[in-house]
């Protein structure tokens, strides 16, 4: 392989890298994708929902053979107090038809592997089990990469970095600084097996319907974070995520937070009688628009988590942003390939495309979310019980007449928290959530 030169090298076999490679290979470019895992997906972890709006554009008939677990027809958003939960949910039968709401649970080890086979079938070459450590520079410009393997010097006109949240390569280029503890979430997750019938009964599901339950408030033992329960075919995914800064301040280990979450009275009945199958951990870049990396330079583009594309608001979108940014990087590469011009100026088309895409627009809309949460720790320690107590008391039949009781509880609320702070938190949350 030593003297062979490719049109493009893609680093990383997740949804961003695979999408970029797919688009470029389809257009006839010579593409090589390098993945450090034993197979694409071997190192990849997420909460559980794959949003398939971009997959539908790339592979319209993907549902024929993609390893989908369940079609998410119900989503629940709940606020945990120490001993209870309060929240809301929605479920629509229309999500059962056609492409539904483009929300499916998948297991990444299976799904990314399946996607990588489609990318290979489209003509890209995939090498697994190789880490890319550095770039090959020629006349001050990127001319390829150095992979940790025999004959690991690979040359190409273009390098697409899709090497995930830790992206040591983008850091090497000075495209982004080190991830900061206040805007980086560590997520831990367990896969728990349960018979299909039990999953349907427990979560009130028909056929391959599935649920996504998200938990806020006191979900991370008082740290700034949240928890989730998602249904797969015959397993459920249960996990928590919290900012590293907040875990450090609270002296918490993520596994202890997960244990606490699994034993919360609202969660325990959902996970009972299950068998543990896997324990995993992964980082989530939660810095939003302001912490996005530089997106392109001469002969290089960055996509997906490597660039910081995650919408960690109520929507919890990530995989579709990864696919969209990978796809747009791929389309940009195809234009450069036609013009034989991979300069930063030519690749600025990537940025133009992003500006017109939901991926960058959503990042911009929620640009303050992680800072806002960092400034409002009361949402995760003080408020859950303050609000939980109010609701529990209001709905206790104790002989107290309703009007004086409501008045008393309102006064209690306004004396336990500064009304202006309460109002400000509510307004702040509006910007973070939706």
């Amino acid at each position: 392989m030593a003297d062979e030169k490719f049109d493009a090298i893609v680093v990383g076999g997740g949804p961003a890298g695979l999408s970029a490679a797919y688009v470029m290979a389809k257009a006839g470019m010579q593409v090589i994708l390098i993945e450090r895992g034993e197979y694409c997906g071997a190192k990849n972890v997420f909460g559980g929902i794959f949003f398939t709006n971009v997959m539908k554009e790339l592979i319209p008939d993907f549902l024929n053979d993609a390893p989908i677990e369940r079609n998410i027809t119900k989503r629940r958003f709940a606020f945990l107090s120490q001993d209870g939960e309060f929240g809301g949910d929605f479920k629509f039968d229309r999500f059962n038809k056609d492409f539904a709401n483009n929300s499916f649970t998948v297991l990444r080890a299976k799904f990314d592997k399946w996607f990588s086979e489609k990318v290979e079938a489209a003509g890209a070459m995939i090498i697994t089990g190789a880490v890319v450590d550095d770039f090959i520079m020629k006349d001050g410009r990127i001319a390829g990469v150095k992979a940790r393997m025999e004959d690991g010097d690979l040359y190409a006109d273009l390098v697409v970095l899709a090497d995930g949240v830790n992206s040591l390569l983008a850091k090497k280029l000075g495209f982004h600084k080190e991830l900061s503890p206040d805007s980086t979430i560590v997520g831990v997750k367990e896969i728990l097996s349960l018979p299909e019938e039990k999953i349907r009964d427990r979560f009130q599901l028909n056929g391959n319907e599935g649920v996504a339950y998200e938990y806020f408030g006191y979900a991370a033992k008082g740290a700034i974070g949240s928890g989730f329960v998602y249904t797969n075919k015959d397993t459920i995914s249960v996990g928590v995520g919290a900012t590293i800064k907040s875990l450090l301040e609270h002296k918490l280990n993520p596994n202890d937070v997960l244990e606490h979450f699994k034993n919360h009275p609202a969660i325990r009945p959902l996970v009972r009688d299950s068998e543990q199958k896997e324990y995993s951990a992964h980082l989530i870049p939660d810095g939003g628009y302001k912490k996005l990396s530089k997106l392109y330079g001469d002969n290089v583009m960055v996509a997906g988590d490597a660039a910081g594309f995650v919408n960690a608001t109520l929507f919890h979108e990530g995989t579709n942003l990864a696919m969209e940014t990978g796809k747009l990087a791929g389309e940009t590469a195809v234009e450069s390939f036609k013009k034989k011009d991979y300069s930063a100026e030519a690749l600025s088309l990537y940025h133009t495309k992003l500006k017109n895409s939901f991926s960058l627009r959503d990042m911009k809309q929620f640009k303050n979310s992680s800072e806002t949460l960092d400034k409002n720790p009361q949402l995760f320690d003080k408020y859950p019980d303050m609000l939980g107590d109010l609701i529990a008391e209001l709905f206790t039949a104790d002989g107290e007449a309703k009007w004086p009781k409501e008045r008393r509880l309102m006064i209690k609320l306004l004396t336990s928290e500064n009304p202006f702070r309460l109002l400000k938190t509510a307004i702040d949350m509006r910007r973070v959530i939706i």
Partner: protein
Amino acid sequence: MKHFTTMEDKLGLDKFTAFEKSHLKIKPGADPMVVEHKLFVCPAKVYELNDKGEPIVSFENCLECGTCRVAAPEEVDWNYPQGGYGVTFKFG
């Protein structure tokens, strides 16, 4: 069915292929107390102090998330393990 709660048991669920050399290092000259002050945050509890107060790095248990790198960038020298080694997720 009773669930595993300890780290050792949970990591036993996962598939690891250990490489001969560690991909994680505490930088020379770093205060070993970083283990107690910051690295308790590692989801696999890779970092511990031995009886003599020296850091022990159980790199073979690493889930490759990068938490330690973000929590203690001054003290931890982090890299990916050799390709094909380390953790291999069957579910993910």
